[in-house]
């Protein structure tokens, strides 16, 4: 081992004695060690990336990575794909924009960017690929914006260069929406800046006025300061404060009270009182409190908006990773990559093993097994032969097939399901945030109190009656109330996303806090979503032999057995032959080993029949292993239940949720899974089509079950996800379910769902505490007003004090996973 690798080994790997890859610093498998070589690589992809980086004189990347990396993950590896589809016209139309001077630009999501060294490397792209004008990376969003000269370079070459560096590029869709969001962000910032500057200046003037109250001030200056405050205050209302008035008017028009309404009432009252008092030269002016209020409320809203945006961005990044390309077979029989959008009915596409089928069509040649769980929820692969129909979004598992395209895009089964999803999302009642529900009552109570105050004082002292009533409207202006929810939600969403739970909107948390019905999809959610050995009966020593004959097969059964055997050392098999759809046989250490269906094995001892019956009863597929013609073991294959499923479901039930399984898989399989999870048979719904899933959700909603949560991962769940009170997509979910869901769990398993529900409950607890705190301050202010003791100074002290309390409570609270 060389000095260089030894150094890297000690720096980056737990043990210095294992040689590590010069690019990714992972241990090098013994079979790939090259004793004479100065550098070792764990795979061909790493060697490629290393070669590219060195060839371009960019070795400094490694030094930078050593000094800057935060240990958030090793460098990504190249996939070696060709990216020809990036040059398509359909692709250019959707993703590429033209600029002055003939330059083109596009935004690409990059996999694997995580530190400053990545920024450095990616932004050296113009040096790597001649013709690239600029590459700017946005680390937070993993988004690179490249601009290039189309006369000198094509986008596919740029994509290949990025891929060779180890950052697989994906087209970033919705560039227009992103641009709009960016502009919205900027407007938000401008408003906050103006509101902040005005608030600061008003406070300075107020300070002079308040000290004038104590130590005396000449009337001339006092009036001058008040005039300037008036100007600034009205500017604050007219420019940044306009959003509240607009919101209030909208809520009046829609007859749905929103928090904007009481805020606007308070602001308007303060504006009117201040203006009148400045004009008549007497009485309190509230411009300091008013401008600070506008500033604080805008800041709170901006924080919430930003936090939710970053969660939504992360989800968007995930679904941009779904491939949208196909291998189009040309007249000469050779295939090239094109974007899926450019496919037409009648085209022939090639689909290799483990690739997603890009369109609906008929298999022309070849045979494979299709994982259609994304569409049907069925976990067992389906064998297809020429003449069979296949659908877009399903995955070819084992073989290479040619498919004649019949329908593309919105015409496919997936496309039609997606149309249903949009429809379901439209029918869903919008979630009304807690504070907005309070807002209606708040307005009512506050105006009543103001009227009472007026009536109490009007006989006593008519001049002060109006003043006290208006002062009450001003000091009860719900500043802390307006901050209570945004701050609590910002803190919770931020913490949740650090724990791999991406929440798209704050109202989701409010909804999840109250237990109701939780509908769990089976395949991929409760189970692992792929074939695995659930039980091994019989001789355990036959397992390495079976794994040996199955090692080189890409059949799902073979892979399940190999995975189950783990790295148990096995002699390699010879003379391996496959009988399609039945089994495989080969010679290991001179013994004949056969693995296959019950019919494939001639020997049938009595214990085997029992084992087969047991497996069938549990809805598992039996696979028999025979050595030298004698059946010795039986592997029961199925979709293994996730380890944490049982415990998680129990905690959910303990929290008051009614947990039900809702799956497209065979009812028997669903019941078997439900049994092993301790669920009642009535709560296991199997054989549900996407439409039925939607109906089940609607039935639950209609019978007043309260919160109906749908948890799923497939396209077949998407409509149900969109219709449910809260839709949760789980790790590895399809693009459609990601866009339909309100929350996304990055880590597999059910434990994050429990955490999401409990975190939501704690978040709502924080919101409630915030509301109580802000109401307490308001109660004090109301009492003072009714007693006629309020002054602008008191208002100026009370308001920020209540807001600070709320800020403190929000950030000190534990919501997700304790303190971050």
């Amino acid at each position: 081992m060389s000095v260089a690798t030894a150094e890297r080994g000690s720096a980056l790997s737990a043990s210095a004695s294992v040689p590590v890859c010069a690019h990714c610093a992972l241990p090098v498998p013994p079979g790939l060690l090259e004793p004479e070589s100065e550098r070792q690589f764990c795979c061909e992809a790493c060697r490629t990336v290393y070669g590219v980086i060195h060839g371009c004189g960019l070795e400094r990347y490694y030094a930078l990575r050593e000094s800057l990396a935060d240990g958030a993950g090793g460098p990504a590896r190249s996939t070696g794909a060709g990216y020809e589809e990036f040059d398509d016209e359909a692709f250019a139309l959707a993703f590429v924009r033209e600029h002055e001077g003939g330059l083109l630009s596009a935004e690409l999501f990059l996999e694997g960017v995580h530190c400053a060294a990545c920024v450095w490397l990616v932004e050296r792209l113009p040096r790597l690929v001649p013709g690239v004008a600029e590459a700017r990376l946005d680390l937070g969003r993993s988004l690179v914006r490249v601009s290039w000269d189309p006369a000198r370079v094509r986008l596919s070459e740029i994509a290949r260069a990025l891929d060779r560096l180890g950052y697989a590029p994906h087209p970033a869709r919705d560039a227009r929406a992103r641009e709009a969001a960016r502009r919205e962000d900027r407007r938000f910032l401008v408003r906050i800046a103006v509101a902040g500057a005005i608030a600061g200046n008003c406070m300075l003037l107020a300070l002079a006025l308040y000290s004038g109250m104590v130590s005396g001030i000449e009337a001339e200056f006092r009036q001058f300061f008040r005039w300037i405050s008036l100007g600034l205050g009205l500017l604050s209302l007219a420019w940044p404060g306009r959003v509240f008035f607009r919101g209030a008017i909208a809520s009046l028009v829609a007859r749905a009270p929103r928090l904007d309404l009481p805020i606007a009432i308070g602001l308007a009252a303060a504006g009117v009182v201040g203006t009148v008092n400045v004009l008549r030269g007497a009485g309190d002016v509230y411009f300091d409190a008013l401008t600070v209020l506008v500033f604080l409320l805008l800041s709170g809203r901006w924080l919430q908006h930003r936090q939710q945006r970053s969660a939504a961005d992360a989800v968007e990044l995930l679904y941009s990773l779904a491939p949208a390309w196909a291998r189009l077979v040309g007249p000469d029989g050779a295939s090239r990559r094109v974007s899926a959008a450019s496919l037409r009915p009648g085209d022939t596409v090639e689909v290799r093993a483990e690739e997603t089928i890009p369109a609906d069509g008929v298999v022309e040649s070849g045979r494979t097994e299709i994982d259609a769980s994304v569409l049907t929820g069925e976990s067992r692969p389906v064998a297809v032969v020429p003449g069979d129909r296949v659908h877009a979004a399903t995955v070819s598992l084992s073989g290479r097939v040619l498919v004649r395209v019949q329908a593309t895009g919105a015409e496919t089964r997936v496309g039609r399901l997606m149309a249903g999803v949009e429809d379901a999302a439209r029918r869903r009642a919008p979630i009304v945030a807690l504070t907005d529900r309070i807002a209606g009552w708040f307005v009512l109570v506050v105006t009543t109190l103001a009227a009472i105050t007026f009536l109490l004082w009007v006989r006593h002292d008519p001049a002060r009656a109006m003043e006290s009533a208006l002062a009450l409207l001003i000091v009860t202006c719900p500043c802390a109330l307006g901050l209570a929810t945004p701050l609590a939600i910002t803190a919770a969403v931020g913490r949740a996303s650090r724990r791999g739970i991406l929440v798209k909107g704050g109202a989701v948390l409010e909804r999840l806090a109250r237990p109701g019905v939780m509908l769990l999809d089976k395949t991929g959610t409760v189970t692992q979503g792929r074939l695995g050995v659930v039980r091994w009966e019989g001789d355990a020593s036959a397992l390495p032999l079976a794994a040996a004959v199955e090692r080189d097969s890409s059949h799902p059964v073979a892979r399940a057995i190999v995975a189950f055997a783990g790295d148990a050392r096995a002699p390699s098999a010879t003379d391996v032959s496959q009988a399609l759809g039945a089994g495989v046989r080969g010679t290991v250490d001179g013994r004949l080993v056969e693995v296959g269906s019950v019919a494939f094995i001639a020997d049938r001892p009595p214990w085997l029949d029992d084992a087969v019956a047991r497996a069938t009863a549990d809805a598992l597929s039996p696979v028999v292993v025979a050595v030298d013609g004698r059946a010795v073991a039986l592997a029961a294959l199925g979709d293994p239940i996730r380890e944490d499923a049982r415990a998680s479901i129990e905690s959910l039930r303990a929290d008051g949720w009614r947990v039900r399984l809702l799956s497209g898989d065979h009812p028997e399989v669903v019941r078997a899974v439900g049994r092993s999870l301790g669920l009642d048979e009535r709560d296991c719904i199997g054989g549900a089509t996407p439409e039925e899933k939607l109906r089940v959700v609607e039935r639950e909603l209609a019978c007043g079950a309260g919160t109906v949560v749908m948890v799923g991962d497939g396209v077949n769940d998407a409509a149900a996800l969109a219709r449910a009170t809260v839709g949760v997509a789980v790790s590895g979910g399809a693009e459609a379910s990601l866009s339909a869901a309100d929350a996304y769990l990055r880590t597999p398993g059910l434990a994050p769902i429990v955490e999401l529900c409990r975190g939501s409950r704690r978040t709502v607890g924080v919101i409630r505490r915030n509301l109580v705190a802000s109401f307490a301050y308001n109660a004090v202010a109301v009492a003072l007003c009714m007693a006629g003791l309020i002054s602008s100074l008191l208002a100026a002290v009370l308001m920020p004090l209540s807001s600070l309390t709320v800020v403190f409570l929000s950030y000190r609270s534990r919501t997700f996973g304790g303190r971050a």
Binding site: R182, D185, R186, A197
Partner: protein, 54 residues
């Protein structure tokens, strides 16, 4: 006439200059990405001999 009549409007004009500069920067997108620039300045510039080679 007191100097305050001159100084106070002047202070507000100065403040609005600051706000104007901020608004300009925000509208140009200088606050769109607050993470990458911090990472971008970490590596030193390329050493001269390497820059000459490429």
């Amino acid at each position: 006439m007191s100097v305050i009549y001159l100084v106070l409007p002047l202070a507000i004009v100065l403040a609005s200059l600051g706000v104007w500069a901020f608004i300009r920067a925000a509208r140009q997108g200088q606050f769109d990405d607050l993470e990458t620039p911090a990472a971008r300045m970490l590596p030193d510039d390329d050493p001269p001999e390497r820059a000459a080679r490429s």
